[in-house]
């Protein structure tokens, strides 16, 4: 096989791997937006907290991030729904600008807390059970990246199953579609909002835990992901979980392959160009409602 073709394929698949993580982050963000029309600017901070949860589990008790992952998910779920009850509930009917300031305030709060409590240093988890490389068919991938991508698929699949196949999931979808109608069905809309925040935060937290085995951990790490998450949500269609999944993969490919072909300094520019194209050609996104 042609060597440059191999490199291209390798790059493409690397894009898919990171894209699956973007997908998971975006699934959480689009869930919150879809159910209650609030943009969560602090979403990257949920990811950051998921990373630190993994880090401290590892540093303090030598627990592997893969082992603590379910607890990280539960913790972030609890945090997300608590934030809904304590903060977001008060601004549901507030003007959009107040909502933006509120979730942006949460971003600053969590970053500040992380800096204060855990110092602004870069941290890494060096000896996870997932480390090393895997080679097949002339291609080579890091095991952490492969495991992270697989984990992202599984968690996105669970969310999808939950929405499609369970009573609570149906209630969540009904709430996203029409809050008053959902309330008239006897659905506790407030509870659904809290559930959306819980699931949204858990998705981001799990993404953070999956990243923690190969990505540096620091208080501002969320910034690396939030912009991409917005692009992904827009590309997939605001509120569409399936859309966010496919869009995440596309964004990952554009970023990694584009960065490879044009130079890494253009990575983010390419993603943002993709965003502009979506907004111009298909403002409702791939799977969004027109």
């Amino acid at each position: 096989m042609n060597a440059s073709f191999d490199i291209l394929l390798q790059t493409l698949l690397s894009g898919v791997l990171i894209g699956l993580i973007y997908a998971l982050v975006a699934v959480g963000l689009t869930m919150i937006f879809g159910v209650m029309d609030i943009v969560n600017f602090a979403h990257g901070e949920f990811l950051m907290l998921g990373m630190y949860a993994s880090f401290w589990g590892f540093a303090l008790w030598a627990l592997d991030p893969m082992f603590t992952l379910p607890f990280t998910a539960l913790m972030l779920f609890g945090l997300g729904s608590a934030i809904y009850h304590v903060v977001i509930r008060r601004i549901i009917r507030a003007p959009m600008l107040s909502q933006i300031f509120t979730t942006f305030g949460l971003l600053i709060l969590f970053r500040g807390l992380a800096q204060f409590l855990w110092k602004p240093d870069f941290r890494t988890i060096d000896h996870s059970i997932v480390q090393g490389k895997v080679a097949f068919a002339g291609l080579q991938f890091g095991l952490p990246q492969l495991v992270a991508a697989a984990g992202a698929i599984v968690v996105t699949g669970i969310v999808w199953w939950f929405l499609q196949r369970t009573r609570l999931g149906a209630a969540l979808e009904a709430t996203a579609a029409d809050k008053d109608a959902a309330a008239l069905m006897g659905i506790d809309v407030q509870r659904m909002f809290a559930l959306a925040w819980g699931i949204g935060a858990a998705c981001a937290g799990v993404a953070g835990a999956l990243l923690s085995t190969f990505f540096p951990i620091f208080p501002e790490v969320g910034a690396n992901f939030i912009l991409i998450a917005f692009v992904t949500v827009a590309l997939g269609g605001f509120g569409s979980v399936a859309g966010a999944f496919w869009a995440g993969i596309i964004v990952g490919i554009v970023e990694v392959l584009g960065g490879f072909l044009l130079g890494p300094q253009y990575k983010l520019a390419l993603v943002l160009a993709l965003y502009l194209i979506v907004v111009l050609l298909r403002p409702q996104g791939l799977l969004g409602r027109a």
Binding site: A170, A177, A183, L184, G186
Partner: protein
């Protein structure tokens, strides 16, 4: 069954209901009639819990429900078929009906209600796999009423069930409302189709700019001078 006492409701501080009182006795069909924008829908929404009360009480079977969330009122037996139907258009007919029974745990009882709904509206059974949004206006209204019945209500609130459907279907819908009432469900009906609403109602209220201006039996109101002049064209 239902007693609404001096309620006030406003939208962003603009009052929509000034001092509304009404009652529905067990087994009754009560109609609220009146022109557009007079507060009929707001009255039903307040009873269902979608709009907060500024003042007044809503009593359901001796219990003050005026401060409860809408979903708690569904559990206590109030079900509403809202204006414009508000179906879940991207879900199937069957899924819409399932959501109507969201508060109920006993699946055997829910299945019984589902059979009753299908008996009332056979077209819903034929179309149960179809997306709600792809049906005709009349079929959608049948689904909306069927979905409302799935909660197994004591009191059914119906907001303009004849809105946007073919005239010959209006008769069928109103006949069905009488049939539902005959099974023991009390009904509070908002209708623009005044003559027909008054024909099936035991009692009725006339609303004007957020106030009740007239109350009586359906027959009395049909014969009243005010109603004749204002709504029946002399």
């Amino acid at each position: 069954m239902l007693q609404v006492e001096h309620i006030r409701v406003s939208y962003q501080r603009v009052p929509a209901l000034h001092d509304i009182s009404l009652r529905v006795a067990r087994g009754e069909i009560v109609a609220i009639v009146g022109g557009n924008g007079n507060g009929k829908s707001t009255t039903l929404r307040a009873i269902a819990g979608l709009n907060r009360l500024d003042a007044g009480r809503i009593v359901l079977a001796d219990r003050d429900v005026g401060t409860l969330a809408p979903h708690d009122r569904v559990r206590l037996g109030i079900s509403m078929v809202p204006e414009g139907r508000r179906l879940f258009p991207r879900l199937t007919v069957a899924r819409n009906l399932e959501l109507g029974a969201y508060t109920r745990r006993d699946s055997a009882e829910v299945a019984t209600t589902l059979r009753q709904v299908f008996t009332l509206f056979p077209v819903l059974e034929e179309r149960r796999r179809q997306l709600a949004g792809t049906m005709s206006g009349g079929e959608q209204q049948m689904l909306a009423i069927g979905r409302g019945l799935m909660a197994h209500p004591q009191l059914l609130l119906l907001d303009e069930p004849s809105w946007g459907i073919a005239p010959k279907l209006v008769t069928k819908i109103l006949d069905t409302i009488v049939a539902i009432n005959a099974t023991g469900v009390s009904i509070l009906l908002v209708e623009q189709n005044l003559r027909r609403a008054l024909a099936i109602a035991d009692r009725a209220y006339v609303m004007q700019t957020g106030r009740m201006v007239l109350e009586g039996s359906g027959q009395e109101l049909l014969e009243s001078e005010l109603v004749k002049q204002a709504y029946l064209g002399g």
